[in-house]
Point group: C2
Chain length 499, copies 2
Amino acid sequence: MISEEKIQKYNDWLFRKSAYDMALSIIMTDKMTVAPIGGSAYRDARTAYLSGELFSIVTDPEILEILREMKDDNDIDPDLKRAAYLYYKDAMATVCIPKEEFVSAQEIFSKSYDAWLEAKTKNDYSIFEPWLKKVIEIRKQQYEYRKSDMDLYDQMLDDYEPGMNREKYDVFFNALKERLVPLIEKVCAAEQIDDSFLYQEYDIEEQKRFSNELLKYLHFDADWGYQNETEHPFTNWVCENDCRTTTKYLLNNVASAILSTVHEVGHATYEHDCDDKYDGMILSEGISSGMHESQSRLFENYLGRSYAFWEYLFPILQKHFPAQLGNVTAKQFTDAVNVSRRSLVRTEADELTYPLHILVRYEIEKGLFDGSISTEGLDETWNALYEKYLGIKVPGAREGILQDVHWSDGSFGYFPTYALGSAFSAQFTAKMREEIDVDEALRSGHFEICIEWLKEHIHKYGCRYDADDIMKIATGREFDVNVYLDYLEEKYTKLYHLK
Amino acid sequence: MISEEKIQKYNDWLFRKSAYDMALSIIMTDKMTVAPIGGSAYRDARTAYLSGELFSIVTDPEILEILREMKDDNDIDPDLKRAAYLYYKDAMATVCIPKEEFVSAQEIFSKSYDAWLEAKTKNDYSIFEPWLKKVIEIRKQQYEYRKSDMDLYDQMLDDYEPGMNREKYDVFFNALKERLVPLIEKVCAAEQIDDSFLYQEYDIEEQKRFSNELLKYLHFDADWGYQNETEHPFTNWVCENDCRTTTKYLLNNVASAILSTVHEVGHATYEHDCDDKYDGMILSEGISSGMHESQSRLFENYLGRSYAFWEYLFPILQKHFPAQLGNVTAKQFTDAVNVSRRSLVRTEADELTYPLHILVRYEIEKGLFDGSISTEGLDETWNALYEKYLGIKVPGAREGILQDVHWSDGSFGYFPTYALGSAFSAQFTAKMREEIDVDEALRSGHFEICIEWLKEHIHKYGCRYDADDIMKIATGREFDVNVYLDYLEEKYTKLYHLK
């Protein structure tokens, strides 16, 4: 069994690493929310340097040796063994990259983010294109250093969702296409639901006041969380008791900030509710991007878009906006936030067409890495795919290719987990509904009953187990995409009175 | 002359150091504005660790040797020489402290801040008292390590204002007492000015909207600055193009947030307008706390409380608050924000009684370090001094001893610079008014004319020269406290129609 001295070294290392993780997390949140843009170059250079320090810590040969020993040691605490396995895997993916290249890449990713933001503001893809090209080249090089037998893009997919690759995603997306495309056709042909009242003018300060009540209902407590505003909503965390979400208010869309808030609080709650003993360790993090997204989607779609949720919250929202919503009922409001239509922007897409937005990104990423698609003219490629799958014309890059932040820092392989996570959450929710009265909890203002179930069956484990295992632990069976597709079919058939 | 190789080492060191300075600055701002309190313990331990890393960088023996050589080298660039001198001085004050003690002190200061915040919220000094005692002990120990011949408190005074000590401050404060106490008596006995309209209900969201226009007028540009909210307003910076200010809105006091904003933007502008070539170096920082405060006070009192300032801004403020200010004139408003009365809270004190608030703190600090005053019962001591100098009874610790953050992290010796800075700014303003038409600039919305003068005569130098030298460069003469006292006497004699 591994020596006490080595365990001590591991613990010291863990603390050191967590200090840099914390600093970089706070600096990142700061950059994306409030940091003055004029200071970007100064900050980015120094942030890259600190990332390099973290790189050196993560790839310290003495620690790698200890981690290797720990991960193969059957006599140590299984939590420690699992953590060592995960750290070792991460380190192996990093240590192969020359430090200098790693640091300069971090700086380029920061600058690329700024270029993306400028391009989006100016609705001009050409500002971002050279950066995107550069970021892709860097990512390719970084993955090549691994000298893996796996295809490059498969490696990226596996990083975000261990065990997944193009072959499995192709099966998954084909199942979606097969059942959702005809369903969407029917929905579009059916009598449409009036949701125009969602798109009146809703004073942003008043939206913020409602948001405070919503956060209270969701138990997003100021003691452990904070919500800020940003161009592209995200969630970030320092530790279990420090989880930050962001949202974006739109003057002419009252549902957008609400549903994005519920979504991000889903991510934050997952991090917050992990077993305390894992705090500061890799085990406290969500297992995979898909698992994380399953929790945010579960909050957003399966709870936040349910009638029971609005039975409680709609009368409160109504008080904030009597002129806009005085004559609307909770039922009409719920139907409206579930309306499905061909649309441009992923983060504001409805539950039914959402996976097709992901399909577009998945096909582009596959093409970018197998060489069949280029960054030049990628806005046109994007637009053509939106026309093909969503049946919609893209008026400009802002609502088109520039809408998402992910590619600016090279997060390729991430998008597909969004669709997968949505499918996971269907299965989790079905099980939760078997075991507790979700609707009664939501309508009576006891959201914590749902949180407790999720904590007990999913959140507390952090990434102690793989996604497959959690699925079995929580639902008693393997993942089945048809649970998701059955749910969508039933829901939209009923909502649109389809035959 | 020092070798190129050593200069290169110095530059690498400077960059490394600036990365940690940046991280700690952002983490500190984050903690004091938005960070969830539940994560404090986790963050504080890691922040202390990072401070320890910075400690190691600052006290690196090889660099100390290079700095020592540079500061004594008459052949190198004088800017470099000056920077080396200042870094060396800082390092010498730090290197004597055992690293372990330095790191644990940082963590205690963070926790003490949290205790102070809790005590203030609960209006209960006893929560903070044991922390204050601990912080004082730590500071004493840290200064004793220097083995200086100077008295402990004199060393602290010198750290914030090089060249100052108790003897000089006693002379300064005696001059203030001698002329201000009788002047304040006369003001209190005179016919009072009606300022009740300032204390109506002013919607905070509306105050924020006005604040955006105010920031524009002050040229506090989102490109290089950001304003947040906090319990105790402060200014912090990462580099010249990243300066953060904070403010605090009060529902029943419209002038408070406005004047604190103008004050903090004064600090931020000083940092922003330093010569670009000093960015990231110690030379870009303000010379001393007194010099920094002179710039914030100049903005707040000498510009922000002038009639010309309000000739431009009052009509705008009036539009935001027609019900409250519809029948008030710019002249009445200006008089109201200059009203002097015995009050409890330093940050909201008027220009005339302000130095007496500082006097109370100066006497307490002297007593805490010469042993004549104890932390036990310090709230009573505080209250007694407020009664003696300000003639006012303190109702509770929140508006009494707990009102200021400074002592929570051991910033002893800082307060006296506030009074000194106010006096400096009188002399700077007098000179500026000789050279440019300040009133015309303010009333016509050309605040940048004042900024330009300040940049040219003060800000651009950063801390290239000592405060004494800057005073001579900017005003052509030595500092004279009577310029300040004459100014106050003339202003308040006129305002209150004194004989």
